[in-house]
């Protein structure tokens, strides 16, 4: 059984959904970790959940990114451990500098809460390990500031390094403006770190991890993390992702 950490900030509100998905749907170990904790070395994977940490004051994720636990998240990530930031968790990872760019107000100015289709752009990350490039997942989004922005230079780097993991697409798989719920550059729904072990995405896989919730595609992302952990060091080295601290 693997140990997942779900980081809890004042204002997190998807923490229990993530806990439920990991613990009850997938049957893995899961623990809430208060943002004042400074050590994550006992975990195999870290989830930075969605919500409205610190009321979105100043900028979404800005205050939470300075919490003591974020230093531990950075250490965990630099040791190769898988870190997934969902929605506000993505915003926090960006503000913390673990992922590049910024998430700004949706181009519509509206809070967008709906099902979207996202296309898998690479499957050599811990989060897409069981998926194929081109697979389309149906996952809900719920955010007011999910419009991914980066500089021209930044977008070039993301493309050159294949760091876009998910794009918003039509059900047929086309990354068109109509499929883009928030105005994100290049229909970006999720990106990863240079090493691939840190993912940020706006859609909520924990909200569709079982049929009762209207869809199960989100489970594929969590199951991928587990399969990736199962595959162990050899496979990871092949993917040129540094070994996890837990293996050391």
């Amino acid at each position: 059984m693997y140990r997942f950490a779900v980081i809890v900030f004042p204002g997190s509100n998807c923490d229990h959904d993530c806990y439920h998905a990991v613990k009850h749907v997938l049957g893995e170990g899961c623990e809430f970790v208060w943002h004042e904790e400074e050590d994550l070395s006992r975990f195999d994977a870290v989830i930075v959940p969605g919500g409205f940490s610190y009321g979105d004051y100043l900028r979404t994720g800005a205050i939470a990114s300075l919490s003591p636990v974020m230093k531990a998240v950075a250490d965990f990530a630099s040791n190769g451990g898988p870190v997934i930031g969902i929605c506000n968790g993505f915003q926090i990872l960006v503000e913390a500098g673990l992922l590049p760019g910024a998430l700004i107000r949706n181009s519509s100015l509206q809070f967008v809460c709906k099902w979207v289709d996202i296309r898998v752009e690479r499957n050599d990350t811990p989060f897409t390990y069981n998926l194929e490039v081109g697979d389309i997942l149906r996952i809900p989004v719920a955010h007011g500031e999910g419009n991914y922005f980066t500089t021209d230079e930044g977008i070039k780097t993301l493309k050159d390094e294949s760091r876009v993991v998910f794009r918003y697409v039509t059900p047929e798989g086309e990354a068109s403006p109509e499929a883009n719920p928030n105005g994100s550059i290049d229909n970006i729904a999720g990106i990863c770190s240079e090493e691939g072990n840190v993912l940020g995405l706006m859609p909520h896989p924990e909200r569709c991890a079982e049929e009762l919730l209207g869809g199960e595609d989100g489970r594929l992302i969590f199951e991928s993390i587990i399969s990736w952990l199962d595959a162990g060091r050899d496979k990871r080295q092949r993917a040129e992702i540094p070994a996890m601290k837990a293996d050391a």
Binding site: L58, E95, P100, I104, F149
Partner: protein, 86 residues
């Protein structure tokens, strides 16, 4: 003992789309202010700083902007220091 009032203006970079500004622009034009060419929204942060030897107020506030008050990916900032004797 000197007290400083510092105004920090945080503005979206020109290259960043500002949908709030666009909405205001459109609302102003609907009100008959057709002369408005553009509208951009920013933030004003006012700081009160107490430091007897604060010849480095601007430098310190600039550091605050870099570390927290602004996000360099999307925003520019401007620091204005006003001196006030207490």
């Amino acid at each position: 003992m000197k007290e400083y009032r510092v105004k920090v203006e945080v503005k979206l970079k020109p290259v960043v789309l500002d949908p709030q500004g666009k909405s205001i622009l459109s609302a102003l034009r609907n009100l008959g202010f057709g002369e408005v060419e553009d509208a951009r929204i920013g933030k004003l942060i006012e700081l009160t700083i107490k430091d007897g030897s604060a010849d480095n107020v601007e430098e310190r506030v600039t550091e605050m902007c870099r570390k927290l008050l602004s996000n360099h990916v999307i925003e520019n900032f401007d620091v204005k220091v006003e001196e006030k004797n207490v």
